[in-house]
Symmetry: C2
Subunit: 153 residues, 2 copies
Amino acid sequence: MKAEYINPFVTATINVFTTMVDCPVQRGEIYLKDGNLCQEEVTGVIGLSGKAQGVVAVHMSSGLAIYAAGAMLGETPSGIDEDVIDVIGEITNMISGAAKAELVELELSVSLPTVIRGPDHTLDVPSSISMLGIPFTSEHGNLFVEVGMDMSK
Amino acid sequence: MKAEYINPFVTATINVFTTMVDCPVQRGEIYLKDGNLCQEEVTGVIGLSGKAQGVVAVHMSSGLAIYAAGAMLGETPSGIDEDVIDVIGEITNMISGAAKAELVELELSVSLPTVIRGPDHTLDVPSSISMLGIPFTSEHGNLFVEVGMDMSK
């Protein structure tokens, strides 16, 4: 996976959190995912297919997930309920959809999002694939967006 | 999602476990997924896109995952390592690929698989989507294959 393919996901994340969640995020340095433990409790996952097969994982703290749901639904939930799950899925979908629109040459389409929770859950892609990630910080919690793509097929 | 769309996943699961894993599985009754706690420790997830947006989740016990890796690699791993993760991803990919080939009218393509682990991890799709599942039993452990598809786009 070319490192330049991560940039549309960075831009999309900043735009979605600024405009839809009203929670500006500050990006850190791109990293190569090493180890599989997810640093945050909640992960939105979406599959990509087209001229590449890929996956996008959006990890966020419970606090940020609940804040985002409150901002998008107009009422702050007391915990991670069905509404919060839907918002995390929708944020994952919006980030992937916006990035896909920039990566025209890959002719990507997105799958249904899933949302994974668990105190120490891990997420792996096949060992032949490198996942790149970008950490983000915000006033309401941390966010990690990780992308893996297989260009070989 | 039409219930008949689940049948190719049932057939594919039986075929993959019989021919690739040398571990025949017995299917139970189809269920509508209610609640989100995954009954087994390890989950392979793959996204579908095309005339439907979907997701396939293959939950299996650690014991079955390790047995399957031993059968496919020729050497039984002592625990869930990178090789086992790759085998779970590949099993998820083979089941989805075989089912996709039967569901020609949906023109599906599959994403990169991911593998989730965690003692009490949960997996949700958006609340507007019903996930159907099929339980399987085998000599080496249990297996649940769950499929959700959004036909509305």
